[in-house]
């Protein structure tokens, strides 16, 4: 009988201790800075253009081939009378969030620190009715950092 009494005492103990539940949709738990949801592109506020030069490093390193990158000549390059030092710049960029496995490799291989993992709740609460809506294009990928919503942490 001792074991039964001990078990009952254990449950009574937790009865007294009170709930540990987090009420998720109402109260968002603060998530750590390193949290990685989905990759995003970063915005260079100095020259007002993306960091990304479209060098294809991430595209090649992606294990699941979820990225498509197209580059173009930078119209704002100094040689063309602009202010930017980037000769080439990203033209089109798609990331299929449905396929992405959030392994952080794209961030690690990027030579320009142009891509980072979203570390806010907005990266976790993506739900859509159509799978094609999970394919993010360049404006969508840039929007969050441009709006200052990302607490930037680029993995070394």
């Amino acid at each position: 009988m001792r074991g039964i009494v001990r078990a009952m005492a254990t449950t009574l103990g937790t009865f007294v201790r009170g709930p540990v539940t987090r009420e998720y949709p109402e109260r968002h738990r603060p998530i750590p800075q390193r949290d990685r949801a989905f990759p995003l592109l970063l915005w260079d506020f100095d020259t007002d253009e993306p960091f990304c030069t479209g060098c294809h490093a991430c595209e090649r390193a992606c294990p699941v081939e979820c990225m498509t990158v197209l580059m173009k000549d930078n119209p704002a390059h100094t040689s063309l009378g602009g202010t930017s030092k980037r000769r080439k710049i990203i033209d089109k960029f798609w990331i299929d969030y449905a396929r992405c496995m959030r392994c952080n490799i794209c961030v690690e291989v990027c030579n320009f620190d142009a891509i980072a993992m979203n570390n806010t709740w907005s990266g976790h609460e993506i739900s859509v009715y159509d799978r094609a809506d999970l394919v993010m294009d360049l404006p969508q990928l840039l929007a969050q950092h441009k709006a200052g919503a990302i607490d930037e942490w680029v993995a070394p």
Binding site: L12, T14, F15, V20, T21
Partner: protein
């Protein structure tokens, strides 16, 4: 042929209808409240919150569930036996409500004061096993069948210790004029004004409590409905309103047996000072007596929830062995001891001593039984040897 309700004279049929309607309505509400309470209490035991989304603290969860279940499609499997399948819920539901006729809530507050109330309660409440078996058989589902057979075996096995434990108490009820023994629930409660019977008959109470858990298919005896084994047992094919009838029946039965236990063992409305307060002030007395009944019933229900939050499930063979080899002999021994004490007119303290000794014996038996590891009851048959997907 006129009856009386709240002092007004009305036609006896109207009276009966009113009482029945009151009982059914009240019990449905009470059962829904119990469902909510169970979810909250068990959540607390598990450090969760339980329902929170419907109304303040989720208090409207049960009505919301009821509405949802009402709106659901009433499915019937293609190969099910239509009559048996559709009628089964009523066989579970109706008997349990009938039982309330004899339950005393306060002095004089009974739907009908029956001279053989205890007998009636036990007789009617065991009908619902038929409903379980019907549900299992009619569903044409192997899990349901397995669950129904388990339910039948369990219900019948534990009916006996339950009855005998209650009879042991009914024997020792001392009535005015030096008469012992009564089956009238009102009298049983009234006689506990000074000392409740749990003091004289602790073994009977423990047997009653265990058998009650088993009758209710509650953990650790929730074998017929074991989620992890037979996925809900006899109800696996039910949906919508029929399923909710089973569910409601289950919780009403919980309330009923807790009320019964409170009345027979814990002194119902009478202990402590139930009559004294009533003598001082009639209305206050009735309220106090209702409060006593509610508190004791609530306590019993709380322990049921507590046990549910704690205990693993027993296995079907252990369950049967526990009933037939342990509880039944012990309850017979209890009756025998009571009989000897009564026949020879020995002092009542002996009732307590005999019962207490039985309780110790029960604990020892459980401790010893655990030390023996189980053996494999069966041998391989090779029925599926080399058989591809079946």
């Amino acid at each position: 042929m006129n009856g009386e309700i709240f002092g007004f004279e009305i036609n006896i049929w109207l009276d009966a209808l009113a009482r029945l309607g009151l009982a059914v309505g009240l019990m449905t509400v009470a059962a829904m409240a119990l469902i909510y309470l169970e979810r909250k209490v068990i959540a607390r035991f598990q450090q969760r919150l339980g329902p929170t989304r419907t109304g303040p603290a989720g208090i409207l969860q049960s009505p919301a569930d009821a509405l949802k279940l009402l709106g659901k499609e009433d499915l019937r499997p293609k190969n099910a036996d239509p009559w048996v399948f559709e009628l089964a819920p009523y066989f579970v539901f109706v008997p349990i409500f009938l039982v309330f006729v004899a339950i005393p809530f306060a002095f004089g507050w009974q739907i009908r004061i029956l001279e053989l109330g205890l007998l009636y309660v036990l007789a009617v409440s065991s009908i619902n096993i038929v409903g379980w078996v019907m549900a299992g058989w009619g569903s044409d589902n192997r899990y349901a069948m397995l669950g129904a057979l388990r339910a039948a075996a369990q219900g019948i096995s534990y009916e006996l210790p339950l009855v005998i434990a209650l009879v042991a108490v009914a024997m020792v009820v001392s009535l005015p004029g030096d008469v012992r023994g009564s089956l009238n629930l009102g009298e049983i409660v009234t006689e506990q004004g000074h000392i409740p019977y749990i003091v004289w008959q602790p073994l009977a109470f423990v047997i009653f409590y265990v058998a009650m858990l088993a009758e209710l298919n509650r953990t650790p005896f929730d074998i017929p409905v074991g989620e992890s084994e037979v996925v809900g047992g006899p109800f696996v094919e039910y949906s919508g309103i029929r399923w909710s009838m089973f569910f409601l029946g289950e919780y009403t039965a919980l309330l009923l047996l807790s009320l019964l236990g409170a009345a027979v063992f814990l002194g119902g409305w009478a202990w402590p000072l139930g009559e004294t307060v009533a003598e001082q002030n009639e209305i206050l007395g009735v309220l106090y007596q209702f409060g006593l009944t509610a508190a004791k019933t609530g306590f019993l229900i709380f322990t049921v929830f507590w046990v549910r939050a704690t205990m693993p499930r027993m296995r079907v063979d252990q369950l049967m062995a526990f009933s037939w080899k342990v509880l039944l002999p012990l309850s017979f021994a209890q009756i025998l001891a009571n009989g000897l004490v009564l026949v020879y007119g020995w002092p009542d303290v002996l009732l307590l001593l005999a019962s207490g000794a039985g309780l110790v014996l029960l604990a020892v038996i459980i401790d010893r039984a655990v030390k023996r590891p189980a053996e494999r009851p069966g041998r391989p048959s090779g029925a599926l040897e080399g058989e591809a997907a079946t």
